[in-house]
């Protein structure tokens, strides 16, 4: 592959060698005694991070498509709320949104005692529904804006040709418009996926024990400062690398865009 060939020039080999030496030095001199004890918890945290990422990506994107469409071609009574939603989500910090949903809603529960007897109560008690909801809404807010631009940038001629062929509207949307919009937005979507990965640690503040929370637990129990953080950063780098490679593979698969 091109990337491997790019790595094999002398300059890069020296840098890789230095990096490998640094890793070995870290492995030998730094304090890793906590690893065996916390490995199961760390794996659980990793799984939870990936689960949160995938679920909120799918749900968020499903919500983003109508949001983008409403802003691109919708009547004013659909476009305006969609635009307002995206503006509010993108204009306020995610941490604030998470706390508003979790603690703000939580403070309302005692005022409505019938909630405790409803079927939803077991879910309202736990933290992950709020994490999924806030991360989904956040992703939808940002991607709604991206999809709006993507829908607007698909060549009008394609839609006109499809209509000239007599395709019903939903077929035009699912066969022509949406796939082309997604293909055009893929590079941006790849970047936004990485941003969503970077947003997952924030749910540690509402008691979800994902990867960042595990590192925090290790630091608080053992008072070790750097080692858990370094390993945590390395873990996120690896996940981000996998995501980037995945998106590059997807981009390579489709037909070349004719520009």
């Amino acid at each position: 592959m091109q990337m491997i060939r790019a790595m094999l020039i002398p300059r890069r080999l020296i840098m890789l060698g230095l990096f490998a030496a640094f890793v070995v030095w870290c492995a030998v001199t730094l304090d890793w005694s906590w690893l065996p004890r916390y490995a199961p918890l760390a794996l659980q945290g990793l799984w939870l991070t990936i689960w949160l990422l995938v679920v909120t990506l799918v749900l968020g994107f499903t919500l983003a498509v109508p949001l983008g469409l409403a802003q691109a071609i919708g009547p004013w009574y659909l476009a305006a709320p969609a635009r307002a939603f995206c503006t509010v989500i993108r204009g306020t910090p995610l941490l604030l949104q998470i706390w508003l949903l979790y603690y703000g809603l939580g403070s309302l529960f005692p005022q409505f005692p019938w909630i405790r007897n409803s079927d939803l109560w077991p879910y309202l008690r736990q933290a992950w529904p709020y994490a999924v909801l806030s991360l989904t809404l956040s992703y939808a807010g940002y991607e709604g804006e991206v999809m709006r631009g993507a829908f607007a940038s698909v060549q009008k001629g394609q839609i006109e040709a499809a209509r000239a062929f007599g395709m019903p509207r939903h077929k035009i949307f699912f066969r022509v418009w949406l796939p082309q919009a997604i293909r055009g937005a893929l590079p941006t979507l790849g970047g936004e996926t990485i941003l969503q990965l970077k947003a997952t640690p924030l749910v540690a503040t509402i008691t979800i024990v994902e990867l960042y929370a595990v590192a925090g637990r290790v630091r608080q129990d053992t008072f070790i400062i750097y080692e858990p953080l370094l390993l945590l950063a390395a873990a996120y780098l690896v996940i981000a690398g996998v995501i980037t490679l995945g998106f590059r593979w997807i981009e390579g698969r489709g037909p070349r865009m004719s520009r």
Partner: protein
């Protein structure tokens, strides 16, 4: 309703003044981090475009790592590394441990994160300048510094503004993350007020409103800046 207004009032026992103080701290940190990030980004972009291959590779590592690792993790690492470095330097000079204010630490940490993004934005903006302009400047024998001042920077600004406007918004929202490490800014003040008065909804909505105002106001200002930067260039509307 009156209770809500009372809680938000500007004089004690209302918490409004606390929130505004937090907002001022947030904006200070955001401005400092944005400026620091711009300086890093400028030298980073120069390095990536005109530097030696070693410099280019090192900068690539910097931007990749910073853009892939979550800000919370970076904030923690940079905070401890930064304070360690400063204390060691102070120790070597024979002075006692230096006290670092929360604002300074926040600017240092967020600035490094912003610098990575700014490097990419400025690099893209400089590459977008029609090459004929720089070629003409060099053909006239302009020294490099003069060319940077008269040609590169003004031309690059128009291309950089949308990305930088986005980056500024990221800076203002990232200051909220500093609440997780205990620096006093708007989100932390909001949480303290909400925890002390139990009026969670009120204060979080008020904080959201304040952030939204900053966002909308910044959008207007950056729109004006972009219009000024694009003056004299052919408009896309034709």
């Amino acid at each position: 309703m009156e209770q809500t207004l009372e809680l938000l009032s500007l004089s004690p026992p209302g918490w409004g003044a606390n929130l505004l103080r937090g907002l001022a701290a947030s904006i200070q940190i955001a401005l400092g981090a944005f400026g620091f990030g711009l300086i890093i980004g400028f030298f980073g972009a120069m390095g990536k475009l005109y530097g030696s291959p070693w410099v280019r590779d090192l900068l690539e590592v910097y931007t990749t790592v910073v853009r892939a690792v979550p800000e919370l993790v970076l904030i923690l690492i940079l905070y401890y590394v930064g304070t360690d470095l400063i204390n060691q330097a102070a120790g070597a000079l024979g002075r006692g441990p230096v006290e670092i204010s929360g604002i300074a630490a926040g600017i240092w940490v967020l600035g490094i994160v912003q610098g990575a993004y700014a490097t990419e934005i400025l690099r893209g903006a400089i590459r977008a300048i029609p090459p004929g302009q720089t070629e003409a400047a060099r053909a006239y024998g302009m020294p490099r510094g003069l060319m940077a001042r008269r040609v590169t920077i003004p031309a690059m600004t128009a291309f950089a503004i949308p990305g930088l406007a986005n980056l500024w918004l990221i800076a203002t929202k990232d200051t909220a993350l500093l609440a997780v490490v205990g620096f006093s800014e708007l989100t932390l003040e909001t949480r303290q007020a909400a925890q002390t008065t139990r009026a969670y909804f009120t204060f979080f909505l008020a904080a959201g409103f304040l952030y939204l105002m900053v966002t909308l106001f910044s959008g207007v200002i950056f729109g004006r800046i972009e219009k000024w930067a694009r003056r004299g260039q052919p408009s896309h509307r034709g």
